[in-house]
Subunit: 264 residues, 2 copies
């Protein structure tokens, strides 16, 4: 995470530290893994206080201890332009239960956890990485493909589609738009419509996955029992025809929007 | 490695990539380890060319393949202020042959590989990490303590002394001053005297180690056979009295100089 890209000078340093680690946890979650050890590189501007470093680490440590992950090393360097934190994380996966981006098959049901859009309003700093969910999913179901949403639903789903050589149809009314995305649209009349925010806002850090349609109902039932307070929503299906389409009351249209682009 | 700290905009990107990885190799070397897998975070300024990224990775890849190390993943982020590369490296060590900083004992002989000082003249961009040497040392000798020289001999030896709770006496005439340190002093009359450069210049990336005095001659003999083209020099001894002292023709004086300080 880099100053003025992933946080600003006003962000609480605990939350900066937490976010740096939580992003990596989210990647491990998307492979159904269990994090074990982290290595942290801290880039510090010329003027910094020991309290800043303490607070960054306290944010990382709190989250690390929740998931029994050890911060085992790293390096501290000068970075004249501002603060950055780079975390490398080691995790363990069950050898024969590793979801990838490339296993989606025509006919698969597409699921997403939580709600989407508007993460910048606050969630990007205190989201819960879906580690428990990712492990449970990969251990109990044949997950054809899985990814964590960091670039927005439209962008990350395209990563799965491209890696798997398939297309997808989403149902407009099924997409779980977050309260934050709705609020932001209401507060700013000229802003992003909530559906567009849910499709393209970055940093949701939810899980997007596909399973055989045959498993879909069983998955939803078991999920409700296991994670009664967490949403899991079926938002569409994988199709053999390439491309990303959205079905609404007026019919089917090709979705041209992409997710967040890092270098625009 | 961070732009304007470890390299400048003029540095060849192959050499920047190589240096980022070689520094980590040097850390693994100091524990007698064998590198296996690297994770690379690239921070890229707003304007960058694909050729830059290609060249950075080509520098890393060349060195990685020499040491049969896989670059297994990482992340790319925007960094408005300039280029940085953060490498996390996994390596394997023999369980019962891991030299640390804390095992130096009074009476130990202190050794250093190569020559010291003046690395900024060029060596910092194309040094050979002492992996073969570190593995051979830890597998064939009881290495009481070892560290790689990144902050300068005086600074890094102090790390060993503090971690081990001991002191040391260096022999001035034994310190292997590099040709680069001598040249720089000659070119710039007001510059650092060569001995001071050898004691305090950063980024030598040589190995500093201590062994029982009983092993010292056997080590030197075996080294000459194994690494005939590499220098290994005995530069002094560990003593129970804390502090760092330098013996020259005029007697013994306390060394107050430190190595390179990252935040000065």
């Amino acid at each position: 995470v880099v100053e003025d890209v992933h946080f600003t000078r006003d962000t609480s340093p605990q939350k900066i530290g937490r976010k740096a680690l939580a992003r990596c946890f989210s990647d491990i979650a998307a492979m159904g893994g269990r994090p074990t050890a982290a290595v942290v590189t801290l880039g510090l501007p010329a003027e910094f206080s020991p309290e800043l470093v303490e607070a960054l680490y306290s944010g990382m440590r709190d989250l690390a201890s929740t998931w029994q992950t050890a911060i085992v090393g790293g390096e501290t360097v000068r970075n004249p332009a501002g603060l950055f934190i780079s975390v490398a994380l080691i995790g363990l996966v069950q050898r024969n239960a590793i979801p990838t981006r490339s296993g989606a098959k025509a006919g698969d049901a597409i699921f997403v956890t939580g709600t989407l859009g508007g993460s910048l309003a606050g969630k990007h700093l205190d989201f819960e990485p879906r580690l428990a969910e990712g492990q449970w999913l990969s251990q109990n179901f044949s997950i054809h493909s899985m990814i964590d949403l960091s670039d927005g639903l439209a962008g990350d789903l395209r990563h799965i589609l491209e890696a798997s050589g398939v297309g997808a149809e989403l149902r407009r009314d099924s997409i779980p738009v977050s309260q934050a995305a709705r609020l932001r649209a209401r507060e700013n009349g000229a802003g992003k419509p909530p559906l567009l925010a849910a499709l393209t806002d970055g940093e949701d850090f939810e899980l997007l996955l596909t399973v055989s349609s045959h498993d879909a109902v069983r998955l939803l039932d078991a999920w409700k029992e296991k994670f009664p307070d967490q949403k899991l929503t079926c938002i569409g299906r994988i199709e053999s025809q390439p491309g990303l389409r959205l079905r609404d009351s007026e019919g089917l249209k090709t979705l041209s929007v992409h997710g967040y682009t890092h270098f625009s």
